[in-house]
């Protein structure tokens, strides 16, 4: 609400004003309508807003038309000569009608491969036609499923919890049942899991002791416990060569994004300005680490790409944030790279309802806003689809042609949960089908 107005109201007028305000805030523009309107405006604006042309432009235009006319005469003449010199046999081929984005998705021509979703206390995977989310543990025999992680070779690890004990399950195909890796462990309440780059090891942490990480082989053997001099704030990620892990955490003197070597556990503070737990990601080839820095002094958020071999850093995007320590900062989350390493997506904003999904380019060209009021972005392995959540629905956006309105994949499934628990995670399998 306009705070100036609220301040000018008497105490007995304010309650009704608050009701009006609450009602107004519930009135949200639907993403599909917004998309259609923007497309219409864009078409109209292209016709209407033309740059002013100077005399030289007119001359160039005239000469261009003359050249085009000459070209047309030449082409006509060549065509006539071709027909006269020999008629080509007719083929039986009929032109294939172009498929819509939705048809291509349903047929599995693009954006193929499963899309997984963690919502409430369940994990789901799309069916082949991308029309519905199917629960992974349909019979609900495992208990609460809290999160998941795809390996680079398409295995899916799922984190579950029953009566305080953490469980990890793995399947090599969504059609196969989940196999227990660590059932009913003594590791405590597990929240998330991460794969090594080669898909052979898993990394875990428990919220009950956030100075310990566990590493285990994917077949459940060789469980190792590593005690750190740091507190973990979220699941670490293996480095591309599996020699270290990177995570957001804190020690006695600083907080930020840290790297810890498995061999000797040496610690390096990569950046003290990384505030968000999922605000960092390795490039697919492992040569670069991207992360979002929140600079309170300058009042900006920076998406940084660091070249691992040289240590060179480049800023791929900057977004304004409040300055100083007085106000809370927006969050950046779910930073991830496209499979070809040319672009990154991430969400930015205060709450899931007011977040914006940005697409940044690895070459540093200007980032673009893809979707507003949306979160949990993830790019499909073929680079053609962006999946995201908006207004309790999952959408697919055609990244090759954003004029196409987003395709509604499905509503967020309902399931068991408790008040205050929200961890909506969406991720495509990185393996190309």
């Amino acid at each position: 609400m306009n705070k100036n107005i609220l301040n000018q109201l008497s105490a007995d007028e304010r309650p009704v004003a608050w009701t009006l305000q609450a009602t107004a805030e519930d009135m949200r523009v639907s993403p599909t309508f917004q998309w259609n309107l923007e497309t219409k405006l864009m078409d109209k604006a292209k016709k209407q807003i033309q740059p002013k042309q100077g005399w030289h432009t007119n001359i160039v235009g005239t000469v261009g038309w003359a050249l085009a006319a000459l070209g047309a005469i030449f082409l006509l003449s060549w065509t006539i000569r071709s027909i006269v010199s020999g008629v080509q046999p007719a083929t039986n081929e009929t032109p294939t009608p172009e498929m819509s984005f939705e048809e291509k998705v349903r047929a599995g021509n693009i954006c193929a491969g499963p899309l997984a979703l963690a919502h409430n206390f369940s994990v789901f995977v799309t069916n082949q036609e991308k029309t519905v989310f199917v629960p992974l543990d349909e019979q609900n025999t495992i208990g609460e499923l809290r999160s998941f992680a795809w390996s680079s070779n398409g295995q899916l690890a799922v984190v579950g919890n029953t009566t305080g004990a953490g469980n990890i399950y793995v399947t090599d195909s969504v059609d196969h049942p989940l196999q227990p890796v660590i059932p009913n462990s003594e590791l405590g309440y597990l929240m998330e899991v991460a794969w090594s780059q080669d898909g052979k090891q898993l990394l875990m942490w428990s919220v009950q002791n956030n100075t310990i990480v566990y590493v285990v082989n994917a077949d459940g053997t060789n469980l190792l416990e590593r005690k750190l001099d740091l507190q973990l704030f979220a699941i670490p990620q293996f480095s591309p060569d599996n020699s270290s892990m990177i995570f957001r955490g804190a020690n006695a003197s600083s907080s930020g994004l840290f790297e810890v070597k498995f061999d000797g556990l040496q610690v390096r503070l990569i950046s003290p300005l990384v505030d968000d737990e999922s605000g960092f990601a390795w490039s697919p080839d492992g040569s670069r680490l991207a992360y979002v820095e929140m600079d309170r002094t300058l009042g900006e958020a920076r998406l940084v790409s660091e070249e691992i071999a040289t240590g060179n850093k480049s800023v791929l995007a900057t977004l304004p944030t409040p300055k100083g320590s007085g106000s809370s900062l927006p969050e950046s989350a779910n930073l991830s790279w496209s499979a070809d390493g040319t672009s990154l997506v991430f969400e930015f904003g205060r709450s899931p309802t007011d977040r914006v999904i940005y697409l940044a380019h690895a070459d540093g060209t200007e980032p673009i806003q893809l979707v507003t009021s949306a979160y949990a972005p993830t790019i499909s392995a073929d680079g053609n689809c962006l999946a995201y959540i908006s207004n309790k629905q999952v959408f697919l956006l055609d990244l090759t042609d954003t004029i196409t309105p987003p395709l509604l994949l499905a509503d967020l499934p309902t399931g068991r949960s408790i008040a205050g628990f929200q961890m909506d995670k969406l991720q495509w399998s990185p393996k190309r089908p």
């Binding site: 608050w18 009602t23 519930d26 309508f33 309107l37």
Partner: protein, 194 residues
């Protein structure tokens, strides 16, 4: 891969509306920024008037089409939002000409059921209907002032320009309007003190 939204690249974060509107005559990105700043205000204005999403979307679409078409006619003498909401207001008036909404007389005094629906979305919808219904039972001027200030988030001065009234007159309309809602409709019973 270009839509109007994509064109907005935070390059005008500090530029005021009037300068943007001037630039929008030849610069699509400037119009994209203006569109983003005011989309919600226009949409809420139409939604609270029409009471349904489809008509609100149609009118919002028409408003921005008209704004784009007439951007040259904005002279910068008043706030851009007042000019834009003026367009929205005229389109709304045209929409309602010949299709006057009818509200049953007893709706104003209808006491809402004390047991709230468990489904939040359904509850929100009911609350929205309740508010929209209540606004239809107070004088048009007062309701319009409340809608412009609370739903479209205009200042008293900006709302005054849309309504053709002074800032003081708008303040008075707001005050009386809130009082009407409190005393003459069931809305007061819906007040949430959180």
């Amino acid at each position: 891969m270009t839509t109007l939204m994509n064109l907005r690249q935070n390059q005008y974060p500090l530029m005021d509306d009037a300068r943007l509107a001037h630039q929008a005559r030849t610069d699509l990105q400037a119009f994209a920024e203006l569109y983003h700043r005011h989309l919600t205000s226009v949409y809420r204005y139409h939604l609270v008037h029409t009471g349904n999403e489809k008509d609100a979307e149609d009118l919002t679409s028409q408003t921005f089409m008209a704004a784009l078409e007439g951007i040259d006619s904005y002279r910068g003498t008043g706030p851009y939002i007042a000019w834009l909401m003026g367009i929205a207001s005229r389109l709304r008036a045209r929409f309602f000409r010949g299709s006057k909404p009818e509200v049953p007389l007893d709706a104003a005094l209808q006491i809402p059921t004390p047991s709230l629906p468990t489904d939040k979305a359904a509850y929100r919808r009911l609350q929205m209907d309740e508010v929209i219904g209540a606004l239809r039972h107070i004088s048009r001027d007062r309701a319009e002032a409340l809608i412009l200030c609370f739903f479209s988030e205009l200042s008293f001065g900006e709302a005054g320009l849309v309504l053709g009234k002074s800032e003081a007159a708008v303040k008075m309309l707001i005050s009386r309007g809130l009082q009407d809602l409190r005393t003459r409709t069931s809305l007061a019973l819906e007040v949430d003190y959180e």
